[in-house]
């Protein structure tokens, strides 16, 4: 597995997200509760690339991001939508290495 550096660790504050381009795909990368998460950045309900701009939180024990458009929640670890069982987002492997944030290419 090769890793692609997308930004400095300091570029993603705790509780915040950024958007990265990985092989032409838009990826939302978050730092929350001390960990990094990466999901498809495109909201499946509206086709708009907005998920990196959602609010992070926990609902019933799951860490989630809320879509800023119609507020559906997605599990940060699995990509599963909490409001609709049939909808799930692609997830990406992400790590912090030597002060850099990297996605699995």
């Amino acid at each position: 597995m090769s890793w692609e550096t997308i930004c400095d660790a300091a570029d993603i504050g705790n509780g915040l997200g950024v958007r990265a381009l990985l092989n032409g795909e838009q990826v939302a990368v978050f730092r929350f509760d001390g960990k990094l998460f990466a999901l498809d950045a495109i909201d499946p309900f509206t086709k708009a690339a907005v998920l990196s701009r959602g609010i992070l939180g926990d609902l019933k024990g799951q860490l989630v991001v809320a879509s800023p458009i119609y507020k559906q929640h997605f599990n940060l670890e699995t990509g599963q939508c909490l409001e609709d069982d049939s909808v799930s987002l692609k997830t990406y492997a992400v790590r912090e290495e030597a002060g850099k944030v990297q996605l699995a290419a």
Binding site: I6, I42, K47, A48, R53, I55, G57, I69, K71
Partner: protein, 850 residues
């Protein structure tokens, strides 16, 4: 079938009610209606007449309009009194000589003020209190007077005294009987009312029989009393009761009572066939009803009889509850205890100035009547118990004793016992059953109940009782109303606000650590961030605040459906220089933005990608613009009309005031968005009465309206205060807004907030104007702190390169977002539809290989 012709003589509250009921009747098309009024305008709200002195205009008091009558085919003739009646030829003749035939005639001529036959009563500054023209005369007279006397210490007399006091006169009340409100109150109640009113610097003179009015020595007139004493005054206002306006019936042989009043039966029919009488001119069972509710009932009954219905007039409950000169007064049923064998309980508290008495039947089983001064909380329950003859509890005294902890149900005990048919709201005739039904269908707050049933939206007198009915029903349903804001905080927004304010908490982390659990969510984070901002007004992207913001607040722009943003710079009061307009045009052109004028007199620029926001704002700020906070739950705009500076009709400088208000409250974050407007005259071109805060210029100063809104459930704002100078206006707005920020629920607009305040508008007035909670200074200080800390969030952002970095579309590329596509429509961009996007993608993939 030809239409039946109905002639309605008199267009007062009751005459209008009859017509309004007819318009809304299913058989309305079978009737032609014409109404005559001797007054120059259609029906207005005489019950609220005194509001004229606190800033309401004649227009505010109108119950209908000529437009409404025209739309509904109602013919009306103003300034023309019906003077002749021929019941055999079935026609009427007016003062101007107009003849009108009728199939049915409705006399709704009302009453006139009784002026005792005192020598000297017809002089220039001796007036009455009944019509808008009377009020105009009183206002004019007050300008030339220092002192004023109201003759008559009844309900209307005390209202009139309040009016004189508001006009700045040294006010006296002269009453023939030994006590005030002798009809409604017993001796104990009358005494307490007197002492409360005298504490307000209104002198009360009882047992005074005025013999004559002569020239005064130190004032314009001297009133000489039968007991040899006298009183000097510059004006005299007679309010010694009403007499039925029955002259038409009297002259043309319709049966009249011995002491006046047109005799009617249970169908409201008079002695002449096809002639009805309704309202204060009618005499039923030897009684005249001087309240509006029985008049409305008669209007219903008369229409029912005309249209073949079966409703009957069966008398009316004359219980009343009102605020006189700021004193709460209530009277229920047999207030004097004149029923034979009557026994009573009296509660008297001279410290808090409360007097309550209930009269019960000899066997102690039913309530006959009650009197309450100073605390009228129990009115709703007592009035219902009395009307429905409900069984009294074992210890009836509990009904008027103050509730102590754990015994709070004492007063409410009656609610469960009420039958479903019990009328809770008499303005809209809403029964207990209807309220319970609304609760079963999901109305779980008093605001919802009001919206669903209209209960409590008239005079508001029944809100406490309606709330009790709602709570009882919720309990019956086993509904536990969970008011927790979300799973992370077991508190309401108001409680959280108190925790933050009192604990001086500055960050979300500190709050959740001390008072919550978990990490937070998209409900509590923005709510808390909003409260932190409205208390401390720190920069919203600083430190840990950033992650709390909704995307709109984080990017300080409004996200649209395709993930791009719109930008709304502040244009205070809607006033903008040509130079700034040009800049907006240039920026929009340069960044290819769609432009549209907003409802709040600003300009919205659509279609900016996130990385473009700081670039665009740099240009706007250089041109002197500030953030418009259209993205926040915050003060949006203050709309204004052009006002006295330009307009031929303008009374005050509405643009100047709008700018002053917008500059003061700009950016103030609140439970929901806030919209304001200022109109320069009562033509109201700025539509201030549809705003959270509406200001309208009048001849006597600013009128302040509060808690209106447009949107999904439009609601007119309520008149809060009138005749205000600039400083008082600002002070009141400060207090109203901060009180809303402290106590409002999450995403609760001001209208719903006020509907849910127990006591509604009156309560809000008591907090803001009378400072009942002793918080006014605190509220003003809170507001001043926020105002002092105002900063343009966009200016702070573009000055900080680290913050600007956060706007990059991609952290690792300068590419554009390839999900964003625009097409052209009417010479501007718009987001591409899904089908159009598919075409784009196909086209680009075809092109690429080449």
């Amino acid at each position: 079938m030809s239409k039946q012709r109905i002639v309605v003589v008199g267009n007062g509250m009751v005459g209008h009610k009859f017509i309004d009921n007819l318009i809304n009747h299913e058989d309305a098309d079978n009737y032609d209606v014409i109404t005559f009024s001797e007054e120059p305008r259609l029906a207005y709200d005489r019950v609220q007449l005194s509001a004229y002195f606190s800033g309401s205009t004649a227009e505010d008091l109108m119950l209908t309009s000529e437009g409404y009558y025209q739309e509904n085919g109602v013919n009306y003739v103003l300034n023309d009194k019906v003077v002749s009646l021929d019941t055999s030829a079935k026609k009427v003749v007016t003062a101007s000589g107009r003849e009108e035939a009728y199939d049915k005639l409705v006399l709704a001529t009302g009453s006139y003020p009784f002026v005792p036959p005192i020598p000297g009563k017809d002089q220039e500054h001796c007036l009455v209190y009944r019509t808008i023209e009377d009020l105009e005369a009183i206002t004019a007279s007050a300008k030339e007077s220092k002192t004023g006397v109201v003759v008559g210490g009844g309900l209307l007399g005390l209202e009139a005294a309040n009016a004189l006091k508001n006009l700045g006169l040294q006010t006296h009340v002269v009453e023939f009987a030994p006590r005030l409100m002798a009809v409604q109150l017993d001796e104990g109640g009358g005494e307490l009312l007197r002492s409360k009113i005298e504490a307000l610097d209104v002198q009360v003179h009882t047992e005074k029989n005025t013999k004559e009015i002569v020239a005064g020595e130190n004032a314009r007139y001297r009133m000489n009393f039968a007991d040899g004493s006298f009183l000097e005054t510059d004006m005299i206002l007679f309010s010694a009761g009403i007499r039925p306006q029955d002259e038409l019936a009297r002259e043309f042989d319709i049966k009249i009572g011995e002491r006046g009043g047109i005799v009617i039966d249970n169908n409201c029919l008079t002695s002449a066939s096809d002639v009805y009488a309704i309202g204060e001119c009618a005499l039923w069972d030897g009684k005249i009803f001087g309240l509006v509710a029985p008049g409305y009932q008669m209007a219903k009954v008369a229409l029912s009889h005309i249209t073949g219905g079966s409703e009957q007039f069966e008398g009316a409950d004359m219980s009343t509850k009102l605020k006189l000169l700021g004193v709460d007064v209530a009277s229920v049923g047999d207030a004097h205890g004149r029923t034979p064998g009557c026994r009573n309980f009296v509660y008297q508290d001279t410290v808090n100035e409360v007097y309550k008495r209930i009269n019960v039947s000899e066997d102690g089983k039913t309530l006959l009547g009650a009197v309450m001064i100073g605390d009228v909380e129990a009115y709703g329950t007592l009035q219902q118990m009395c009307v429905h003859g409900m069984a009294l509890p074992e210890n009836p005294e509990a009904l008027i004793l103050p509730a102590v902890d754990g015994d709070a149900a004492a007063v409410g005990m009656g609610v469960d016992a009420l039958p479903d048919s019990a009328q809770i709201c008499s303005c809209y005739e809403v029964t207990k059953g209807q309220i319970s039904c609304a609760v079963q269908e999901g109305a779980h707050t008093i605001g919802d109940v009001k919206a669903a049933t209209k209960a409590g939206t008239g005079c508001g007198g029944c809100v406490a009782l309606a709330t009790q009915v709602m709570n009882a029903e919720l309990e019956n349903l086993g509904v536990e109303v969970n008011t927790d804001i979300c799973e992370h905080f077991a508190y309401t927004r108001q409680e959280l606000h108190d925790l933050i304010r009192i604990g001086q908490i500055r960050t979300f982390e500190e709050l959740i650590e001390k008072h919550g659990k978990g990490h937070g969510c998209d409900i509590c984070k923005p709510t808390v961030s909003n409260m932190l901002a409205s208390l401390w007004n720190d920069y919203i992207l600083e430190g840990s605040h950033a992650g709390l913001q909704d995307t709109n607040d984080y990017f300080m722009a409004n996200m649209q459906k395709n993930g791009t943003y719109s930008i709304v710079p502040r244009i205070p009061g809607g006033e903008i220089t040509p130079q700034k307009l040009i800049v907006l045009g240039q920026v929009a052109e340069k960044y290819k933005l769609y432009t549209k004028i907003t409802g709040g007199q600003r300009i919205d620029l659509f279609g900016a990608q996130q990385h473009e926001l700081p670039l665009i704002w740099k240009e706007l700020i250089d041109a002197g613009f500030e953030t418009g906070q259209a993205y926040g739950k915050s003060v949006r705009t203050v709309k204004s009309c052009v006002g006295s500076t330009w307009c031929r009709y303008g009374v005050l400088d509405s643009v100047g005031m709008a700018i002053r208000i917008e500059e003061r409250y700009k950016g103030l974050r609140a439970p929901h968005k806030l919209k304001f407007a200022v109109s320069g005259c009562t033509r109201e071109c700025a539509e201030a009465q549809s705003k959270d805060i509406g200001v309208i210029a009048t001849e006597t100063g600013w009128s302040l309206y509060v808690c209106g809104n447009g949107g999904m459930k439009p609601r007119h704002a309520d008149l809060f205060a009138g005749g205000l100078d600039d400083e008082t206006l600002i002070k009141y707005i400060d207090r109203v807004l901060m009180f809303y920020i402290r106590t409002g629920d999450r995403l609760q607009r001001t209208s719903v907030w006020m509907d849910n305040l127990e006591g509604g508008l009156d309560y809000l007035k008591s907090v803001v104007i009378d400072d009942k909670l002793n918080v006014a200074e605190d509220l003003e200080n809170d507001m001043q702190r926020v105002v002092d800390k105002f900063h343009c969030e966009w200016k702070a952002t573009i000055e900080d390169p680290e913050k600007v970095k956060r706007f990059r579309t991609f952290v690792n590329s300068d590419a554009n977002d390839n999900t964003v596509h625009f097409v052209e429509e009417r010479k501007q961009i718009r987001p591409a539809t899904e089908e159009e996007v598919v075409k784009f993608v196909d086209a680009s993939s075809e092109v690429e290989p080449a």
